[in-house]
Structures are given as structure tokens and as C-alpha cells.
């Protein structure tokens, strides 16, 4: 079953074309990686799936049972904001219809504690978010996204600002969640991510890569890259060429920043 279908998707920001004819489906239970260079349209794609951006043409169709959870980038937060971990996670329970004097139910509070236990962050409940490491904060945001019982979880750069140990821990945790939830990750870090993924989508404005083969778990070997077809500007290339091109772009981008 497809939980999300993306058909003939075009997104323009004024005269700038951010996405041009993107087509792919996301299957239930999939662990999907979306990669690509900065400005390549990854975040635009995710925002369109989340309904934050209106497509110029084509669109995104979600299955009627699809409930999406979203984990934004760590770097977008003011870590000095006066809020505790427990309070952050609870906001995931807020009903979208604004209700005056809303109080979290007993069940909601219990759900918060249960998810915190599950993600091994129960002891952080009263901690101010500025006192957390990158890895802990990432888990807090994942916990918040689980409050509305999603069957699809979208994570935007979950490895940014997170140390290597925490990164591996988060990926393993996501792998466990993937037994019941479809996971979609945007990431620059394909090397660290690829052992966990079923499929990778490469987004670079007009170059869209997808594999229609949904591999069974046996196809993805521990430490191996997942099967994928790569295209850049409509031309098929090898996996190594694609990785080299991607890494080269990242190096150039970080060089420019320095």
C-alpha cells in the first residue's frame, strides 16, 4: 500500500523552479532516505508533503489512514527558550482546533511518559532544553512527533548537530520504530545512513532519482548500500559516481562556508 503518492509535482518560488516533475510513491513500512545538495529541493519536497507549501502543478496524495509525524531540524530552535522537555513533548498532543483553557488529559500525560520511557529519556522530563545534548534534543523532538500516533514519520536532517555515537543510537531507534511506522529521512550523511535504508531518493531540482524496486529486508545487507538507480539530469550513472558527485558538492559547499 502506498502511504504517500507524489505525482507530476512542480513547485515554483516566483520565477525560481524548486521542484520539476517529481514522481514517486512511498510504501507502507518503508525506511526512505531523501538526499541531495543544498538548495536541491529536499526541504521544499518535505514541506509540500506536510501541506506547508502549495504545489504549482501536480500534487501529493496521502492514503486516508495516513497520519504524518514531523521532526524538524535541531538547528532551527532557540535552545534558550524557557521550556522544559516535558512541555515540549506535550505540545504534540495539542488539538488543531484551538480550544480555550486547554488542559492536557490524564491519558495524554501518561502517553508522554510512556513514549519518554520507550525512547530512554524519562529522566529528562523537567530539564530545560538548553541543557540537552544534540542527541537528547533529537530524541525529544522524535518523542513529540509520536504524540499524534503517526504511521509516517518525516525527519529533517536528524544527524545535524548530533555526535557520532548518538547518531548511531538514533538510527537504531528509528529502525525499531520502523517496525510499525514508515520513516522518511532527509540527510546529507548518506554513508552513515545507507545501511538502514530501504531506498534512497536523490533530489536536485530537475534531477530526480528513484528506484521502483522496493527491496525486501534480505536485499539490504548490514553495512551495504541499498539498491538504487541513479540519474542526474536524466542520465543514468553508477552508484559510486553519484556518491562522489554528492560528496564533492558537500565538500565544496563547506569550503565556501569556511
Amino acid at each position: 500500500m502506498n502511504v504517500i503518492q507524489i505525482q507530476n509535482l512542480h513547485v515554483n518560488y516566483g520565477k525560481i523552479q524548486a521542484l520539476d516533475n517529481v514522481n514517486f510513491n512511498i510504501k507502507q513500512g518503508e525506511f526512505l532516505g531523501i538526499i541531495g545538495p543544498n538548495g536541491g529541493g529536499k526541504t521544499t519536497l518535505i514541506k509540500t508533503i506536510l501541506g506547508m507549501i502549495e504545489p504549482s502543478k501536480g500534487g501529493v496524495t496521502t492514503h486516508e489512514d495516513t497520519v504524518i509525524g514531523y521532526v524538524p531540524q535541531l538547528t532551527t530552535f532557540d535552545r534558550k527558550f524557557p521550556i522544559t522537555v516535558g512541555e515540549v513533548i506535550k505540545t504534540g498532543h495539542l488539538p488543531k482546533r484551538v480550544m480555550p483553557f486547554y488542559k492536557y488529559s490524564k491519558e495524554a500525560n501518561q502517553h508522554v511518559l510512556a513514549v519518554m520511557e520507550q525512547l530512554d529519556i524519562a529522566e529528562l522530563f523537567d530539564r530545560q532544553i538548553g541543557q540537552l545534548s544534540g542527541g537528547q534534543m533529537q530524541k525529544v523532538l522524535i518523542a513529540r512527533s509520536l504524540m499524534n500516533h503517526p504511521n509516517v514519520l518525516i525527519l529533517d536532517e536528524p544527524t545535524a548537530g548530533v555526535d557520532e555515537d548518538s547518531r548511531a543510537h538514533i538510527f537504531k531507534m528509528l529502525q525499531q520504530l520502523n517496525t510499525s511506522i514508515t520513516i522518511i529521512i532527509i540527510s546529507h550523511n548518506i554513508t552513515a545512513l545507507s545501511p538502514y535504508l530501504d531506498r534512497i531518493i536523490y533530489i536536485n531540482k530537475q534531477a530526480h532519482v528513484h528506484s521502483d524496486n522496493h527491496p525486501t529486508s534480505g536485499d539490504v545487507m548490514e553495512g551495504d548500500m541499498c539498491p538504487i538507480d541513479w540519474f542526474i539530469q536524466g542520465e543514468k550513472i553508477t552508484k559510486n559516481e553519484a556518491y562522489q558527485a554528492h560528496d564533492q558538492k558537500q565538500k565544496m559547499a563547506s569550503g565556501v562556508r569556511k
Partner: protein, 271 residues
């Protein structure tokens, strides 16, 4: 002291000090946490144009200020969202245009030019009963608007995008917030003036944040700190016969820097 409290102007000033402390605590916390300090400053200065227009048209100047402040507030939001223009640019534009209009209207007003100093620097001792009612009603509006939707405000301030993702219509929060900021600033003009209003909106929350990491506690503590600033400033102003707006802000600034120094010193001694 008992003798002092028997004066009606002093009773009004004390009530005004307490009510404005509640306003500045709530709105100041929101302004600081939403990074809207410079925008609020722009709105405050734009209201000067409305005050000038009030004199020119022969209506209560503060009503003119209110219209300009609300217009600037909603206008800045609209321009920012529709053009994506830099907030600083919009703020500067409104700020200088408002001040220019104020000077122009005063120059065009027939007769002797009015004393604009009290609008720039405030005069809490001139607050009358009618004005107290206005402050009281605004305080109640702010309390209802923020406390009844407190959990939503918390998410809106912390992570507006997530609120959008889970389907909360944040446009309403944007509009209510901009109107409340404009109203609060106009009320503060009479007490501490246009130029000093920003200090009252930022100093108490900044000081409160040193002692708590919860939004609600920050608002409560900020309210208490604001009351200490305004009441102490008021007394200093009375006994030393100096302008009240200046003494409130200077007392606040001194307290803030002392607290920062003590906090730093205690942190050093602990390490």
C-alpha cells in the same frame, strides 16, 4: 509615606505602575522570546505620528497614537509576509516615517506647539482615573487572550512551524499578537514614554529569565520585577524630584546589571 499615599495622583500612579507591570511582563516575555524587540520599537516610534495627528485633528492624541500603532503593527506583519522583506528594514521605515509625520503634524497644528516631552519620556504622575480604566481594561484583555490559550502560545512562540504542521491556524495568533503589542505600547507611552517603553518590555523578562526556565514562571516573575522597578522608580522620582520615566528605567537598568554581575560572580565562585 502615609501622607504621600493620600494624594490621588500618587494612588493613580501606584495602580498604573502595578497594572503596567502585568502588561509588560506578559507582552515583554512574548516580545523577547519571539525576537520582536526591534519591531516593537518601530511600532512605538510610529505611534508618535498618530499623537501628532491627534493634536492636528483636535482629538485625544493617545487615540491617534493607538490607530498608528495598530496600523503599523498589522502593516509591518502584512508587508513582511507578502514581500519577505527584512524585518529590520520594515521597522526602520515605519519608525522614521512615524516620527517624521509626528513632527509634520505638530508643525501644521495652529497655535503654540504642544509639549511632546511627556509622550517621549512619559509621566506616570499625570495618569488620571479615566486613563486607569483604559489600562485596567487592556490588562484584562491581555490576561484573557494569553492565559486562555497559554498552551498554544507556548507552542507558537517556541516552534511556529510545528504548530502549522499539526494544523493549528497560526494566522490568528499573528494578528492577535500584533494588535496586543500595539495596544501595550500605547498604554506604556503615558507611563514611561515612547523611547523608554521598550526598556520596560525587555528588562523585566530578561532579568526573570536568569531565574527560571518555564514560560509561565518567567511571566510571573517578570511581573513582580516590573512592579519593583516601577514602584521604586516612582518613589525615587518623588523624593529626588526627577522625571519618573527616567528614574523607573534607570533603576531597572541598574538592578539588571547588578543581577548579571552577582550571577556571574556566584557562577565563578561555584566553579
Amino acid at each position: 509615606m502615609t501622607n504621600l499615599l493620600s494624594y490621588a495622583f500618587m494612588q493613580n500612579a501606584i495602580i498604573a505602575a502595578i497594572l503596567t507591570s502585568v502588561i509588560t511582563a506578559i507582552m515583554g516575555t512574548i516580545i523577547v522570546e519571539k525576537n520582536m524587540v526591534s519591531l516593537s520599537s518601530g511600532i512605538a516610534h510610529t505611534s508618535f505620528g498618530g499623537i501628532g495627528a491627534g493634536y492636528f485633528l483636535g482629538i485625544e492624541p493617545i487615540i491617534g497614537g493607538l490607530f498608528f500603532a495598530v496600523g503599523a503593527s498589522l502593516g509591518a506583519n502584512k508587508i513582511q509576509k507578502s514581500t519577505g522583506a527584512n524585518t529590520g528594514t520594515i521597522t526602520s521605515m515605519f519608525w522614521s516615517t512615524g516620527m517624521a509625520l509626528g513632527i509634520l503634524f505638530i508643525a501644521l497644528t495652529p497655535g503654540y506647539p504642544p509639549d511632546m516631552m511627556s509622550y517621549l519620556f512619559g509621566d506616570i504622575l499625570s495618569v488620571n482615573r479615566a486613563y486607569l480604566w483604559i489600562i485596567g481594561v487592556l490588562t484584562i484583555i491581555i490576561l484573557i487572550a494569553t492565559l486562555s490559550y497559554f498552551e498554544y502560545w507556548k507552542l507558537y512562540l517556541f516552534d511556529e512551524n510545528y504548530a502549522k504542521v499539526i494544523g493549528i491556524n497560526i494566522k490568528h495568533f499573528d494578528i492577535v499578537l500584533y494588535i496586543l503589542i500595539a495596544l501595550s505600547i500605547v498604554i506604556l507611552i503615558k507611563v514611561v514614554g515612547i523611547i523608554l517603553s521598550l526598556a520596560m518590555l525587555t528588562m523585566p523578562p530578561a532579568m526573570a529569565k536568569m531565574f527560571t526556565h518555564k514560560l509561565k514562571n518567567m511571566m510571573l516573575l517578570s511581573s513582580l520585577i516590573g512592579m519593583i522597578f516601577t514602584l521604586a522608580g516612582l518613589m525615587i522620582s518623588y523624593y529626588l524630584n526627577i522625571p519618573s520615566g527616567a528614574s523607573i528605567i534607570l533603576f531597572g537598568a541598574l538592578s539588571y546589571f547588578l543581577t548579571v554581575s552577582v550571577k556571574k560572580a556566584s557562577k565563578k565562585s561555584n566553579t
